[in-house]
Structure formats: C-alpha cells, structure tokens
C-alpha cells in the first residue's frame, strides 16, 4: 500500500493536517512492512481531489475518513483503532472529529497562511522546495485561497493581526519627510494596548479549540484513555502539531498553547514521538505515472474546466454525475467547434468561389458579345450557365491559367 501525501515540513512528515492524521493512523494501525509513504503532492491521483490518498493495488481511496473505514473493513477489524470503544464513545469520536476540523482548521490557516509574515517568510518559500518551476506558483496560491475562505468569518481578527504586524515595521515615508516623529509615549502605549487586545482575541480564538480538548484529555495519554491511540488521537496530533511545531516569525499560536495549555503540548509530544518517528515510516518514490509533472498538472487543470466554467455542478449528487456532466461538456464543446469549423469552411469557400463567379459571368458575357449571337447561345450553354457556378469557376480557372 502507498499513502500519498503532501511533502514533509516543519520537522513533521507532512504540511497538511489531514495527511499527518493519515500517517499517524497508518503507523499505528498497519504493520510497517505493509505500507510506504509517498510524497507525490499530486492531488489528481485522489478520487476526492485532495490528499491524503491511499493506493492499494489499483484501488485509490481519498480522504482520512475513507481511508480509516477502508482499512478497517479490509483487515476485518484488526486495523480498526476504535474497536474497543463503547457505543457512546464512538458517537463522541464522530462528534470530535467534526469539532476538530471545524475549529482547528481556521487556526492553522490563520497561523500558517494568513499571518502575512509567516506566509511570506516560511510557508510560501516552503512550497518551492519540493514543487518544480511552473507549478510552484499555482499550488501555494490555491492553498492560500483555501485558507482565505476557511478564515472568511474572522475578518476583524485578521485586520488586527495585520495592524499589529505593520505597527512593528518602519514609519511611513510621508511622516519621515515631514519630520514628524511618532515616537511619543502616548502612541507607543496605545500600540501596546492594541497589541494586548489582539493577543487576548487570539487567545480566545485558540482557546475555543484547545480548551475543550484539554478538558476532555484531562492529562490522559490518549483521548479516550486506554493504552493505544484512537482515530481522534490521530486527527488531533495531525492538527495540533501544525500549531505547535512550526518555527514561525509570528509564533502566536505556539506561544499561546505553550503558556496556557502545557499539558496539551505534553500530549502532542508523546503522540508525535510515537507516531511520526522517522524509523517507523518507510519512504518510497512515486511511480512514474503518479508523479506530479507539468503534463499531469495541466491534465488535472483541464479536467476541472467544466466545473470552473459553471457547466457542471460543483457538487453533483453522485461522483458518476460529475464525469457524465463533464463529458457532456466536452462533447458539446467538440460539437460546437465542429460546427464552427464547418461554417467557417463554407464561408471561406463561398467568398473564394463568389469572386470567381463574377469573373466567369463577365467573361461569358464578353464571349457572347464577341462571338455570333445565334451560334453560341443555344439551349445547352444556357443550361450550363444556370448550373452550379462551382464547376464553371474551376473551368474558368483552368482556362485562364
């Protein structure tokens, strides 16, 4: 089995929380000799268009939840990390998986992608280290756009963060020219209070996620107690480690968790050393067909054209509807191209031929005039003049040559 993920970063095996969760899951649930990790970065491989994706022979399974349920049923329950949970705990597992994704993804997006110093100095350059030339401009852009949409409900917090970053930079040039120095004590103290309020807001934002988790963990090693991690632990370590481990120029997420939620750090530390250890992960190169090349990247882009142009539903009922709709798009496009080509051809031919017809008629009249009237204008030649002009035109061309 191959697990395809986004490349490693920040001392972690991947830069994507869902990929990290999948790696954590496989390294506990599946013996090491049965799976390898492939940093293919190629989302076209996955049936749901996002990594992680699991390749088992010729089957592809996309997304953490699908991988978990596939492996559980494939191993007839041996790989099911949640098999020892009670019914109510299983219900809680479903709920917490949803909760982690809903509340933690905006924090990660804000920290790694939206906080502009982190994005410009760390995350953005990171993509260039593992993606080659033309594609390295597009993929980080889409990831950034995704982060923007994930944090679209946090506009005031983003504004405060941006203001804080700018206040620490140089004074505006206009102020310098005018000789205005804004280093008076009042403005610096107001900046300080501004910084503090921003920090409080960020703290509440992070605590919305970490506080319930800490309360639930209650210094246990694993989320539901016990002696082995569950799927919730896998997801938690995936999401939390992207808050805790990256070294960022604006490390607010890390600082807040370190200051107030030290036992959560301890929990992540334990899980990380157990699940993301270098020796427990076997890396492999992607097959030639699975590699992210310019060709496969363009292919993936072209495939999504029907959706981008609004022809196909972005969210069809079934996956088969999607292929059906996009193939109907291509058939229609081909048909329209064909009709356009045919019409253009006819038009071009008409214009060519039309000119010749005039010449032909003129010359014919000339002929008629010079030769005797009665000799040439018999039934046959009148009939031949009434016929389609095309053949006449060719005749004329031949004659004039």
């Amino acid at each position: 089995m191959e697990l395809h993920v986004w490349s490693r970063a920040f001392g972690l095996p991947s830069l994507d929380p869902e990929c990290l969760a999948a790696i954590a899951f496989l390294s506990t649930a599946v013996p090491q000799d049965l799976w390898v990790l492939v940093e293919s970065n190629n989302t076209n491989l996955s049936p749901n268009g996002a990594l992680p994706a699991l390749k088992d022979g010729s089957r592809w399974i996309g997304g953490f939840d699908s991988i978990v349920s596939y492996l559980s049923s494939r191993s007839s329950g041996r790989s099911d990390l949640d098999r020892n949970l009670s019914e109510i705990q299983k219900a809680e597992a479903v709920a917490y998986r949803s909760f982690i994704r809903q509340t933690c993804l905006p924090i990660i997006s804000l920290s790694l992608y939206i906080t502009s110093r982190n994005w410009v100095q760390v995350t953005r350059p990171l993509y260039s280290t593992f993606i080659r030339f033309p594609i390295q401009y597009e993929i980080p852009h889409t990831h950034h756009a995704r982060a923007v949409s994930a944090t679209s409900h946090l506009t005031s917090l983003i504004r405060d963060l941006a203001a804080e970053e700018h206040s620490s930079s140089i004074e505006p040039i206009s102020a310098a020219i005018a000789g205005i120095t804004t280093t008076s004590t009042t403005s610096s103290s107001s900046k300080e209070t501004e910084k503090i309020t921003t920090r409080v807001k960020l703290r509440n934002f992070v605590a919305d996620f970490v506080d319930p988790i800490r309360e639930k963990l209650n210094r246990k090693n694993y989320f539901f107690g016990g002696t082995s991690p569950t799927t919730v632990d896998c997801l938690l370590v995936g999401y939390l480690s992207l808050l805790v481990y990256p070294d960022l120029p604006s490390p607010w997420a890390k600082e807040i968790i370190q200051q107030e939620f030290a036992d959560v750090i301890l929990y992540v530390e334990n899980l990380k050393s157990a699940l993301f250890a270098e020796r427990s992960i076997t890396y492999a190169e992607a097959d030639a067909a699975d590699k992210l090349t310019l060709g496969s990247w363009i292919g993936g882009g072209v495939e999504s054209i029907p959706e981008k142009w609004g022809w196909a539903d972005a969210i069809p009922l079934r996956e088969s509807d999607r292929t059906q709709q996009s193939s109907s798009f291509w058939v229609l496009l081909q048909g329209m191209l064909g009709i356009a080509a045919a019409a253009g051809g006819v038009l071009a031919y008409k214009t060519l031929v039309g000119g010749d017809v005039e010449v032909q008629v003129e010359e014919k009249i000339g002929e008629v005039a010079t030769a005797g009237v009665n000799e040439l204008v018999d039934e046959e030649s009148v009939e031949s003049m009434d016929r389609l002009p095309i053949f006449r035109a060719e005749d004329m061309l031949n004659l004039s040559m």
């Binding site: 996955s46 749901n48 268009g49 109510i88 949803s98 539903d313 972005a314």
Partner: protein, 327 residues
C-alpha cells in the same frame, strides 16, 4: 430624522387644491418666461394621487398613550422576526428555516412570551434572521425615553438566560461534549440540509424558492433569488469541503453518521445530555429533525429523510417536542 420628515409632510395633505390655485396665479403673473403647457399642468395637478396617513415617529411619540400603539394586549411585547409565511406567523407555527426554528422553539421551551413576525434578511440589523425586538415595559415608556431593544441571534441565548423567569438551563454550553456535538449538527447535518434544500433542483424549485420568496412572487425576481441561494449554498459547502471534491451522497453519508452519533448520545433519555428538561441542544436538533420529517423533501432529499427515520429515538424526540411546544 423621521420626526422632521413627517412634520414637513403634514401640510402637504391638502396640497392638490392649493397647488392648482397657486399654479394658475404664478403662470399669469411672475413666471411668464416659462409656462408649462396646459395638458401637462392638468396631469401634474392630479398629484399626489394618494396621501398616506402620517406615520407616528417611533422615538418621540410620547404624546401618544401606550394604548394607541398598534399592538394591544392580545400580543406580547416581544417579537421574534423569522422566516415564515405570513399566515403561519399569525398562529406561531414553526418557521421553515432551521436557525429561526431553533430559537423559536427554545424560547417556547423556556416559557418566554413572544409572537413571531414574518420577515426577511433585509430587515435584520445583522443581516441574518432571527432577531428579537423587545418593546420596553409600558411604565418606562411613560416615564422616560426608552428604546425598543434589538437582540441579534448571537445574543439571544444570553437574553433568554436573563429574561426567562421560572426556568433554568441545565446543560452548560461550555462543556466539551456539548460543543463537539453542536459542531456535528452545525456541520454534518447542516451541510446535508443545504444540499437537499438548495442544491437539489427539485426541492429548490418546489419548496425553498416558493417559501423564501413568498413576498416577491414575481417571476424573474424569485428565479434569480433562487439561483443566488443555490450559489450561496454551494459556496458554503465548498468551504467546508476544504479543497476536496464533495458530492451529495458523501454529504448524506456524513449526515447519517451524525444521526447515528446523536441517536447514541440521546440513548433512552428523554432529552439530550440526560437533562431533566429540554434545552438549547434539543431545540437545535429538533429544528432539523422537524423540518426534515415534515417538509416533504423529494428526490435526493429522501435519502436524508430515510437516514433519519432509522433512528426511532430521534423521531420520538421530535414528536415529544412537537406535541409539547408546537401545537
């Protein structure tokens, strides 16, 4: 200022008669440079066609006694503005929007006296429904200038906590489990709901558009509003999908997973989190289960209905609330 506009408008009521008189005077005397043709003047003399009675200005209407105000003792002083058909608003029947229904039911559960008013997003100060307008008590109207208080949805929980006399909220909304299961309702079930109601074209045209565009049943307008609602739902689902392709079946599967989890959480209890009385979480689950079971979703929406009907304790829970607070 409404007061100034109304006072300046007041003398214009006997306007038609006056303007004809003054118009002819002017034309004969001062403004000989420009004189409108007679037929145009006869047309303009007909205006205004109708003068509406002057609206009382809402703030400074202290000269009026409270009994003259439009609502009388039959209605309570709190009005919850929700998505609702005008006829339904009269007898306080459930709203067809889950967010509105949740608060409508929760206020009934907590015994808050209120009436509902059919409304739309444009009426709301925050841009979303529901919101509550609390008329100040009569004594304070007489004694001083107290404004009607507007409570947006985000502050409703606190307002109910402060104003619901004789009932207590037993489930802390800060507990980790409460928040985890709330996110299950807000994400998994809401996504499937959005898909069934807005993205599925049959339900969009048969249920959603007629209900939401009830006040503007003109053809191109309601059609365009429907398209807008559908696009908004698709955008919202795309954000939750986080870059991966989602499809309807996947959303319904996640909803089924959520029903199973909620059913396990409820167990044999009467209310969620083993509370002695229904609470906000019961209301938010009821808002979806009630609408899914009663709206008559068609086509792909049937998957959602069938998924829910496997869990008899959730059905019973819906019925329990409906019978008690939704008669």
């Amino acid at each position: 200022m409404p007061s100034t506009s109304s006072s300046s408008y007041r003398p214009s009521r006997p306007a038609p008669a006056q303007s004809t008189a003054s118009g002819t005077n002017d034309a004969g005397g001062t403004s000989s440079m420009f004189r409108a043709p007679t037929f145009i003047r006869t047309i303009f003399d007909k205006f205004p066609l109708y003068s509406y009675p002057v609206d009382p200005s809402p703030i400074n209407s202290l000269d009026k006694t409270p009994s003259e105000q439009p609502h009388d003792d039959l209605f309570s002083k709190n009005t919850l503005y929700v998505f609702s058909l005008p006829g339904d608003a009269q007898n306080c029947s459930p709203s067809f929007n889950p967010a509105c229904l949740k608060w409508q039911i929760y206020m009934k559960i907590r015994g808050v006296d209120f009436r509902i008013q059919s409304s739309s997003n444009h009426a709301s100060p925050t841009g979303s429904l529901p919101f509550l307008i609390v008329e100040p008590a009569r004594s304070s109207v007489v004694s001083g200038r107290q404004l009607a208080q507007t409570v947006p949805a985000s502050k409703l929980a606190q307002w109910i906590e402060d104003n619901a006399a004789g009932s207590v909220n037993q489930v802390s909304s800060d507990s980790p489990d409460y928040r985890a299961f709330s996110s299950l309702v807000d994400r998994n079930i809401r996504d499937a709901w959005l898909y069934a109601m807005y993205v599925d074209n049959t339900n969009l045209n048969n249920i959603t558009v007629p209900k939401y565009t009830n006040s503007t049943p003109l053809w191109p307008v309601n059609y365009l509003l429907g398209l807008q609602m559908r696009q908004a739902a698709l955008d919202s689902l795309g954000v939750n999908g986080v870059g991966s392709k989602v499809n309807g079946e996947m959303l319904y599967m996640r909803a089924n997973e959520a029903w199973a989890a909620l059913s396990a959480l409820l167990g044999d209890n009467k209310w969620f989190f083993s509370a002695r009385d229904a609470g906000l979480f019961d209301a938010s689950v009821f808002a979806y289960t009630h609408l899914i079971l009663t709206l008559g979703l068609e086509r792909s929406g049937e998957d959602l209905v069938n998924g829910l009907q496997q869990y008899s304790n959730l059905i019973d829970h819906e019925q329990r609330i409906r019978n008690k607070w939704c008669t």
